[in-house]
Every structure is written in structure tokens, then in C-alpha cells.
């Protein structure tokens, strides 16, 4: 089952003194187990461009489509057995503590 994992900032990051996890180690583990499909960082919201078409007219605007304090800073596509496995993988990502992660299951085109 595939999940899109949004990597986002959070106004209240973890402040405990737990040892740091490193994103390279996370990636090596997840990729090594064949759980990682694709992923990257994305540039901040000020570099975003929003595109709409209304009544045949193209509307291009600067900035993200929602005003939010929390920014999406990256994404990964994970291929997991089930949600519990995706949660385990997400929980070991450094941004689970420095920010937050959101798991969205894929909705295959042939499913209702």
C-alpha cells in the first residue's frame, strides 16, 4: 500500500533532549528495506505558484493556495504493508520531532 508522506513544520516542535535522528540514516534504512519510492525537499511557500482556470481564463498567483503557519517542506512516497508500518517509518523521521508528518493513503484510479 502506498502512502504520500507530507513533511511539514510545526509551531510546537519537540524540545526534549532525546538523541537526534539523522535524515541520512532514516533514508538509508527505508530505502534499504525497499519501502521508499520517491521523495524530495520542496522550496518554501514564498516560491510557490498557484494555478487556476476560471471561465476559460488562466489565473496564476504568487504564493501557496492556503495561508498557514505550517509549511510543507518535503514529501516522500512510501510503499508499506499497512498503516502501522508507515507510522513506524514516519515516527523515525527527524521531522517527526522537529515538525510533523502527515500520511495520506494513495487512492488508486480503479478503486471507488
Amino acid at each position: 500500500m502506498k502512502y504520500l508522506m507530507f513533511v511539514a513544520t510545526d509551531p510546537e516542535p519537540d524540545t526534549s533532549s532525546e538523541p537526534h535522528t539523522d535524515v541520512e540514516a532514516w533514508f538509508a534504512d527505508v530505502e534499504g528495506r525497499g519501502k521508499w519510492v520517491i521523495g524530495d525537499r520542496v522550496r518554501p511557500a514564498e516560491d510557490a505558484t498557484t494555478v487556476r482556470v476560471r471561465s476559460g481564463e488562466l489565473l496564476v498567483t504568487d504564493g501557496p493556495y492556503t495561508e498557514s503557519k505550517d509549511w510543507i517542506v518535503g514529501f516522500d512516497v512510501l510503499d508499506c504493508e499497512d498503516l502501522d508500518e508507515a507510522i513506524e517509518i514516519a515516527s523515525k523521521h527527524p521531522m517527526a520531532r522537529a515538525g510533523r508528518l502527515e500520511l495520506r493513503p494513495f487512492w488508486p484510479i480503479d478503486e471507488g
Binding site: 500500500m1 502512502y3 508499506c80 504493508e81 499497512d82 498503516l83 502501522d84 508507515a86 507510522i87 513506524e88 500520511l103 493513503p105 487512492w107
Partner: protein
């Protein structure tokens, strides 16, 4: 017969969900088997092995439905295999049944599900309540509750929540999640006994018993079971003839369920695992045990109860625990000391709008003899209280302090 059916129902539902992955099919098949049993057994007599009869009947129905849907052959074989392994239930809480029931509980209480959905699904699938009964308990329409259940089933399917027991390193926190759902179910019934939710307290006690049978060495599971039994034992003395709540110090202790208290104390003994830091359910059960064992209200060991609240607060620094502690201080050292302890709690904004804050204050003022101030605090509490039983109790108290405040000759 109902009890036997109830025990088998859960085992069969859990097995069918594991094999078919279809929650509705599992429940329909068991419902169908139970209805057939109710129609046939009184006429033809109860079969030699009722468990096997119910299992076989439910599985046969599942096979019929799956064949009609042209389900793959290997799934059909799995259901047939299930009939062979489960046909003769020896210990309904052991072996393969135990695992299936745990899978069911952990899935119903998965943290990725909405909290109200966890409660509804646990009541439907584990406790076996109908959608209508659950709707009545939570004062919503049957269609609203049906939607809530459907939404929860859908999330399980779409988000890829597996029917499984969590990894060993997650068991403790996931068990805590299951306990929270059971405690919430119990409390809904306990605090709203004259609403539609009265039976939920008994369901909560039953669910805690099931968990304790499935996870006998978990001290917090035993702690929750002890807590619920010790609280539920007081149910007959908790409300008066007019449906008003009776506070603990005025309850007729002869009405307490002694057999249930004995069960609760036995569970508490099992929860007291040497060397383990007591968890919040065990600590609350220890407090409930102090009340259950005191021969009368005056003999209550308030010194020990305050100490227990202190330990509980260290673990779970919630303002509600602090409020209960202040009330206990009021009994240990008198109402003046209680008010001093309460002053600190009252600064916590999280308690704004919580009716028990002015209610505790009112009780302390009443016992101090400050009738006018007590009456004002009772009126504050009455604007916030939500259940009828508590409202009637607060109204009774308000009448009492109002009467004591206007003694003859005052004017």
C-alpha cells in the same frame, strides 16, 4: 443462553474479520447464527456443543455469501479452515481466539481512528450492541451513529489499518489506548445513569473483564478492571428516589455490591505488581478501594487518599486530579484547608466551565457555615452542570443552604 452466545459471538466475529477482512459480513453472519439459535434451540433443545453449533452456522452463512460474491477460492478455503480450528472452543480466551480478540480490540481502538469512532466501533463489534442502542446511549439518531460507524469502517479500509496486534514495543501505548476507550465507555454510563447511557457502565465493566482475561499480566489492565468494579459496586446507592445524585459521604453503604467489591479488590491485588511503578488506573483503583473498605464515611482514611492523589498528580498533572486532591484535603484537614488548596486549582484556566469546580467550592463553604457564599457557588455550578442527576443534587444542596441561611429571627 444469552451469556454463552455473547462469549461465542465475539470469538466468531473476530475470526471472520481476520479471514475475510469484511467487518459487516462478519457481524451479519454471527447475527444470523444467533437468530437461528434463538428460533431453534427453545424448540429442538440446546445442542450438545452450542459453541460449535454457532460457529458452524455462522461460517456456513459466510461461505454462502462469499460464494455468491464469487470470492476467490483461497479465501473460501480459509473460512473452511477456520471452522475446523474453531469448531470446538475449549478456552474462549486462549490460543487462536485470544489473538483474534486482541486484534479486534487493537483495531477498534486504533489511534488513527476518530475517538468517537473508536468508542462506537468497540461497542458495536466487541460488545455486540446494535447501532440503535449505541445511538440511544449517545443521544444521537440511529442514522447519525450509522454514519459514524460507516466512516470508521471506511477509514480502516482506506488508510490500510491492518487487523493485527501491534509490534511488541508499541503494545504498552496501544493498550493504554484501548483502556482509554473502555474507561470512556464506562464513564459515559456512570456519569449519565438516568440518560440513555446507563447500560454503558455495565458494558465498560464487561469490556474491562474481557481485557483482563486476554492480558492477565498487564498491571494497568487489572488496575482499570479494579477501578471500574469498585466504582460500579456503588451504583445502587448513588442515586436517590428522585434520581438525584447522592454524594459518597451520604450513601447507604449497605447497598454497595459486596461481591463486586471483592472482585475489584482481587483485581487490585493482581495490579499491584511488585517493582512496577503504579500506573494511573491502579492509583485511582487504590483511591476507590479506600472508599470501598471504609466501614463508614467518617472512618475514611483521607490522609492516605491525599497521598495517593499526590502520586497520581506526579504522573498525570491534570487540573481535574488537582481538584479531587483539594476536595480530599478538605476532608482530611477541614474545609478551610480545602479552600486554600482549591485557590491554587482555581487559577487553572483549563477548568473554566467545569461544573465540579464551583461545586467543590460550594461544598467546602457549606461545611464552613458560609451559607450565602455557598449558595452563590451552587448557583454557579448549576449554570454549568450537564447531567440531570447532578443537577438535582446541586438543587437540593442549594435549598438546604438557603434554608440554613435564613434562620428565624434574622429579620
Amino acid at each position: 443462553m444469552a451469556a454463552a452466545v455473547g462469549e461465542q459471538r465475539l470469538r466468531i466475529v473476530a475470526g471472520l474479520i481476520r479471514v475475510t477482512g469484511d467487518w459487516e459480513l462478519a457481524e451479519d453472519c454471527v447475527q444470523d447464527a444467533v437468530e437461528r439459535a434463538l428460533a431453534r434451540w427453545p424448540r429442538d433443545g440446546v445442542p450438545v456443543n452450542p459453541a460449535a453449533w454457532l460457529t458452524t452456522t455462522a461460517h456456513r452463512r459466510a461461505l454462502d455469501l462469499l460464494r455468491r460474491r464469487r470470492t476467490e477460492a483461497d479465501k473460501l478455503r480459509e473460512v473452511q479452515a477456520l471452522t475446523e480450528t474453531e469448531g470446538s472452543a475449549v478456552d474462549p480466551y486462549g490460543g487462536v481466539y485470544r489473538d483474534d480478540q486482541l486484534r479486534l480490540l487493537f483495531t477498534c481502538c486504533h489511534p488513527a481512528l476518530p475517538p468517537a469512532g473508536r468508542v462506537a466501533l468497540t461497542l458495536k463489534t466487541v460488545a455486540g450492541l446494535s447501532t440503535r442502542e449505541i445511538a440511544a446511549a449517545f443521544l444521537v439518531t440511529e442514522s447519525t451513529m450509522g454514519q459514524r460507524l460507516l466512516r470508521t469502517h471506511t477509514k480502516i479500509a482506506h488508510a490500510g489499518i491492518s487487523f493485527r496486534v501491534p509490534e511488541p514495543h508499541r503494545i504498552a501505548e496501544r493498550t493504554a489506548g484501548v483502556l482509554a476507550v473502555v474507561y470512556l465507555i464506562f464513564n459515559e454510563g456512570y456519569s449519565n445513569a438516568d440518560g440513555g447511557a446507563g447500560d454503558l457502565a455495565a458494558e465498560g465493566v464487561r469490556l474491562a473483564g474481557l481485557l483482563a482475561a486476554l492480558l492477565p499480566t498487564d498491571d494497568e489492565v487489572q488496575g482499570l478492571r479494579a477501578l471500574l468494579l469498585l466504582q460500579h459496586a456503588r451504583r445502587a446507592s448513588r442515586t436517590g428516589v428522585n434520581g438525584e445524585l447522592i454524594p459518597m459521604e451520604e450513601q447507604d453503604r449497605r447497598g454497595w455490591d459486596r461481591a463486586m467489591i471483592v472482585d475489584g479488590m482481587a483485581a487490585l491485588d493482581r495490579a499491584r505488581v511488585a517493582g512496577r511503578v503504579p500506573g494511573s488506573y491502579r492509583l485511582q483503583a487504590e483511591i476507590a478501594a479506600e472508599h470501598a473498605l471504609a466501614p463508614d464515611a467518617a472512618a475514611t482514611d483521607w490522609a492516605r487518599i491525599v497521598v495517593l492523589y499526590d502520586v497520581l498528580f506526579d504522573q498525570q498533572p491534570s487540573p481535574v486530579v488537582a481538584l479531587n486532591r483539594a476536595a480530599a484535603v478538605g476532608f482530611r484537614d477541614g474545609p478551610q484547608a480545602g479552600l486554600a488548596a482549591l485557590a491554587e486549582v482555581e487559577r487553572d484556566e483549563r477548568l473554566a466551565g467545569y461544573h465540579l469546580l464551583p461545586a467543590v467550592r460550594a461544598d467546602l463553604l457549606r461545611r464552613l457555615g458560609c451559607a450565602a457564599e455557598a449558595a452563590a457557588a451552587y448557583r454557579d455550578a448549576l449554570t454549568l452542570v450537564r447531567t440531570a442527576a447532578e443537577r438535582r443534587f446541586l438543587e437540593r444542596r442549594l435549598r438546604e443552604v438557603a434554608a440554613s441561611g435564613t434562620t428565624p429571627g434574622d429579620r
